[in-house]
Symmetry: C2
Subunit: 121 residues, 2 copies
């Protein structure tokens, strides 16, 4: 199976990050991965709120997050483990992720309320 592609941190583009996180499901998935430190399996993340994301869409969301440089995915046997590249991204674009996560968190009805606690301000 083809190895998973990850951009080097210096190749990460702000527009890719914004595009990736402009989708609330994707932002929620990213927030979950971030909070967990290391979420085992994409499927651990398959539900956003009360809505279940179909496998193929989920696979695609994860790919978008990965190629934007937001997460790192490793195959572990039959599953893929995802963890956030928060520290690297924060070093490259200080305040960007915190601003975004907090914006979603302060937005009523969002699934990201919990994530904002992870983001020191």
């Amino acid at each position: 199976m083809r190895p998973l592609f990850h951009p080097a941190i210096e190749d990460v583009r702000p527009e890719a990050i914004l595009h990736a996180l402009a989708d609330p499901s994707r932002a929620a998935i990213f927030a979950k991965i971030m909070q967990a430190g290391c979420v085992e399996a994409c499927s651990a993340v398959a539900a956003v709120g009360d809505r279940v994301i179909p496998k193929s869409s989920l696979s695609n969301h994860i790919k978008v997050l990965r190629e934007a440089g937001l997460i790192r995915s490793e195959r572990h046997g039959v599953e893929v483990r995802n963890h956030s590249r928060w520290i690297e991204v924060e070093a490259r674009f200080p305040g960007l992720l915190a601003g975004i996560i907090n914006a979603y968190a302060s937005d009523v009805g969002s699934d990201l309320r919990a994530a904002s606690k992870t983001v020191a301000r």
Copy 2:
């Protein structure tokens, strides 16, 4: 002519802001409007770097920024004056715009280097 629609600040959604600014031309337009305080005419903003944006695309970009809640547009005779809603947006989503503008500014080759000076850190 139909009046221009502006969302109330409490109706502004983070995903709309991210989507609007995920496009580098739109981010550059927003940055220009922000720096100028009040840019007269859309056309004052018609070139991004060395690339000229066609009128119809520009009109659309301005509309996206307006409906995301990032700018306010007023018709003044034959032209439209745009100014940024920075202060309102900053109050609602603290750190969001600064994070985004700085991310673009620190990205080599971006047209937003100048804008970051406007953003206190």
